[in-house]
Symmetry: C2
Subunit: 415 residues, 2 copies
């Protein structure tokens, strides 16, 4: 072990890139160990992404679902948080380069850089169809949604007004379903009586999915249930409807043109940077193949976890879920407390869940399925529980109960 790769008192240096579910879990598992840990993130906060769509739809404030990384790790005296953006890795010199020109040496490196939305061959679509990934995205979507109603209120032309009141969500995964359901609730209930020239309840909410069914990761029965539930809420669900083009006035699909001013993207993700820094192999979604102990193939000192890692278990790649990242982070952190080769990791699913709207959600774990009111209640309970900190739990729970009773949304800000 060379001098540079040790801490001030000769301790082993572990560097973690990314403070999402995987990276933060890894840092927490390393707290108090005889290791110098550096957690690098370009943002100062850990974001509870599963609820980001609620920020995008004015139900919650960004700070309700974000915790400062320094605050969470304040008591882990061996963990240092570094606000910076990684731009490269030098495996030979064992150091990470930041965009400000500095380098951070490591003895062991954990890549937990997460994922971004996938616009496939059309990155330029991100302009017209933002996806809820960061707080800035969510705020942007929130402003677009609310601004569309404002503009419709003032529009003289009927066709223009209709396009303004048409909201298209692309992608029938959990995020797309949640977004479409919530926009329907916003239009039908929250904004009721707020306008004088338009009736917000007349808004068209269209969910387009290229495949034959929505929530394709769930059993078919739950997909059917979700379609029915969405349609009852007034969402126009269009299956087998791939997007072929996007512009400022709407989108072209296989099934024809849709004029819409607001388009929200939720169609598939791709791994964030990571593979490019290593110059190694990766799958078509940019994921880095790792061994069963999360070591990057060909790099014994480098590990990848979460959405950026491609780990096969029982013949299938583990999905890009918060619980996978978190379990991997915790496992790897515990293993790295001592200097040894980490033991293999095994993912134990706690089940998949998606919420559709009021009283309506789905949950699936192996053969076990749940849908409707009880699944919806459990979804809420689980998500409140998974938030970090008593204050955030209390704030989110209060706002949910308030919204449940009044249909009001506390964060209707255009800014």
């Amino acid at each position: 072990m060379s001098q540079a790769h040790q801490g001030g008192d000769g301790r082993r240096r572990v560097v973690i890139v990314g403070g999402g579910f995987g990276g933060l879990a890894c840092a927490r598992a390393l707290a108090g160990a005889d290791v110098d840990v550096t957690l690098i993130d370009k943002r100062n906060h850990h974001l509870f992404q599963p609820l980001l769509y609620q920020v995008a739809t004015a139900a919650l404030s960004p700070a309700d679902i974000a915790v400062p990384l320094r605050g969470v790790l304040a008591k882990a005296k061996n963990v240092r948080v570094l606000l910076g953006e990684v731009c490269g890795i030098d495996p030979d010199r064992r150091q990470v380069s930041l965009t400000d020109g500095t380098t951070v040496p490591y003895e062991q490196l954990v890549l937990a850089t997460g994922s971004a939305y996938n616009y496939f061959a059309h990155p330029e679509w991100a302009q017209q169809a933002p996806a809820p990934k960061s707080i800035a995205d969510a705020r942007h979507i929130r402003a677009s949604l609310l601004k569309a109603f404002e503009d419709a209120e003032r529009a003289d032309d009927a066709a223009h007004r209709e396009a303004l009141l048409t909201f298209v969500v692309v992608g029938g995964g959990p995020t797309g379903v949640e977004m479409a359901g919530t926009i329907a609730e916003l239009a039908r209930h929250t904004l009721k009586g707020n306008f004088r020239n338009i009736d917000p309840a007349c808004a068209k909410i269209i969910l387009v999915e290229a495949g034959p069914r929505i929530l394709s990761a769930f059993p078919e029965e739950l997909s059917t249930y979700a379609v029915d539930a969405l349609r009852r809420m007034g969402v126009d669900v269009r299956l087998g409807c791939a997007v072929e083009g996007l512009d400022d006035h709407g989108l072209d699909t296989k099934a024809g043109r849709i004029n819409a001013r607001t388009i929200i993207w939720g169609a598939g993700i791709k791994a964030a940077q990571g593979a490019a820094w290593l110059g190694g192999t990766h799958d078509r979604n940019g994921r880095i193949p790792v061994a069963d102990n999360m070591a990057v193939v060909g790099h014994e000192r480098i590990f990848a976890i979460g959405d950026v890692a491609l780990l096969e278990q029982d013949g299938a790649a583990l999905p890009a879920l918060a619980q996978v990242a978190q379990q991997q982070g915790t496992h790897l952190g515990r293993e790295l407390r001592v200097l040894a080769i980490p033991r293999p990791f095994r993912y134990r699913s706690r089940g998949d869940t998606a919420v559709i709207g009021r009283h309506s959600a789905v949950y699936s774990l192996g053969k076990y399925q749940l849908k409707g009111r009880f699944a919806w209640f459990l979804w809420g309970l689980a998500h409140v529980y998974l938030l970090i900190g008593f204050d955030r739990r209390a704030l989110v729970m209060f706002q949910w109960i308030w919204r449940y009773l009044t249909f009001e949304r506390g964060a209707r800000l255009i800014d």
Copy 2:
């Protein structure tokens, strides 16, 4: 009354420009009257400005102190909210022009455009020394404050680190005092243990005031108390210290140079646009002189209320306070319910208050004074009460109690 200045059913049209304390109070007082009311604001929300400094210092989220104007006025069916920016008034044709080229006719017009911070002869200083006036400003200040600590954590050079950890607040009015006190609490308590290379408690917080005392609108005894309280909290209060120059690295004052990366402005306000649109007289702060019934001198159909109006009572101009604007708005709204010349308004002060820090505030009403723990408690109670909506009251109260118990601040976001 010409056709254009009436509503669809021939009703009188009242247009209110600005949805702050004055404009919103006026619109609410007109709810249900036999009048067509249009409330124009460039933002979709009413902002509870007295607590904006708490957003700037990461204690509250923007949505906690902002309510959507449409939501507040949903039940006032005769009130229409228009999201737009006014750029001119034509008193002869009785219409308001918006930046998007449309015009809004009025029979009676209420100007409630508020105020902006006054950089006196140096508008360019706004760049280096932002003032907490809008939500965007508050977010920008919050990010600057938190980023300064982040950069200090990484700084190698001692002088540079010291400049990064020096925070200067310009202006010893209530906003300046509140900002300085809160930054001190942030540095000494909230961020404790969050860093590895710096001790945030070593941050220097300097409050510079050009005049001989801070809180000059309060009795001298309370000013002295405030200085003592700030100094006990670790704030360096410098009186008679006028700012002469500002740059990216600090500021020059009459008493010498201060190197500081973060400078926050809170020194005096000037009226927002309004006088310019009318082309009439105004005082040196841009306020429009009004008669005792708030009618603009020389314009019997136009009224001005709040910070944009200059109304003398008992020989002195009424101060730029939320309670003045609110009382004027309510009075004028009630008077305008019927078509007649509004009766004179008389301001009844409920007292002035400013908070310095934990357990420390001042309150003054005529000969009656209050300071310390009890004033602080009353200040909190009054501000929670004045928020609009049960949900916001509950959210703010919960976050204050949580912060009181833990010193934690829920909105430490750099975004």
